[in-house]
Amino acid sequence: MHVEEYRTLFIVGSLILMLVAVAPTLSLFIRIPSGSERFSELWLLGPAHTAENYPFNVSVNEEYSVFVGVGNHLGSSSYYVVYVKFRNQSQQLPNSTTSEPSSLSPFYEFRFVLSDGEVWEAPLTFAIENVLLQQNFSLVQNISINDIVFPVNYTSIWDSNRNGFYYQMFFELWLYNMTSNSFQYHNRFVSLWLNITST
């Protein structure tokens, strides 16, 4: 056996072993960026914690439940606000094209910080209270959300196409922006159409 013939192979093998020994130190200084997409989730579930049986035909003074949830996949802990808003048929919804929130003031809100990969969920119980129903006109005076009563005073005209007085409860997701040091609308919202009935 002529050892010199294996010199190069021996040197390469030694260098590979040395590289293996140095790898933990290299990993301290070299960070390979994650190629996964960064996003947040926002969802609404029905009272049975499933994507069905959402409240739709709602009676005055009856309580209804949903679950609102958020998932963080932004790569680091994030500070969120979920605003609960209420509108009639003509008032403004968020604009997904221009990433603008609704100009309506929120009634209820949730504030929380989620670590990357974590999910948050909360129950929301609401009731439409003090409603004036006329032939072609309705007025919702109050809405209670999680036992807090908010004055609303929104009107709705009878929708002859869909046969009802329609309102919408919607949930906007806002995210704290470290660059601008303020909350910004995260261009995500979920909503519930509600047909107000007297009974």
Partner: protein, 155 residues
Amino acid sequence: MRKTPSKLLVLFFVLAFSASIFISEAFAANSEDTAATSIEGAENALVSAYQSVLEVEQVGANVSGLLAQLNEAGEFLAKAHMAYRLGNFDSATSFADQGKDVGIEVENNAYELKDSAWRENIQRMWLTIMGSVLGVILIGSGSFWFWRFLKRRYP
């Protein structure tokens, strides 16, 4: 003469009534301002605490405990905002102050955790570097001596 005391009495009650309206409006404006200031203070404390938690997270420490506390502060701040919108300024102030206190506590805890995590990271880094250097030396010298052994054994 008999009419004068009754006129004075009427005048007194009118003045007292006017004063009570003025004072209550002044107090109301004051409590609204107080609530707004408290909410702003709580928001700043919460944001500052959140930034501290992010820094701790970046050095690799476990921030789950801090996040749970931060969410408690977030609940107070949410309640403060809702109470303010409803005109319950005293409640808004109370919730905001509670939120601010929790936020400050989170920030202090975060700084302590960051210090200990930083020290642990430095220790771990030096151990890793020393281990790699030792590994390279052992592999290099071991390879050299093994090569010489092979050359002597198989000239």
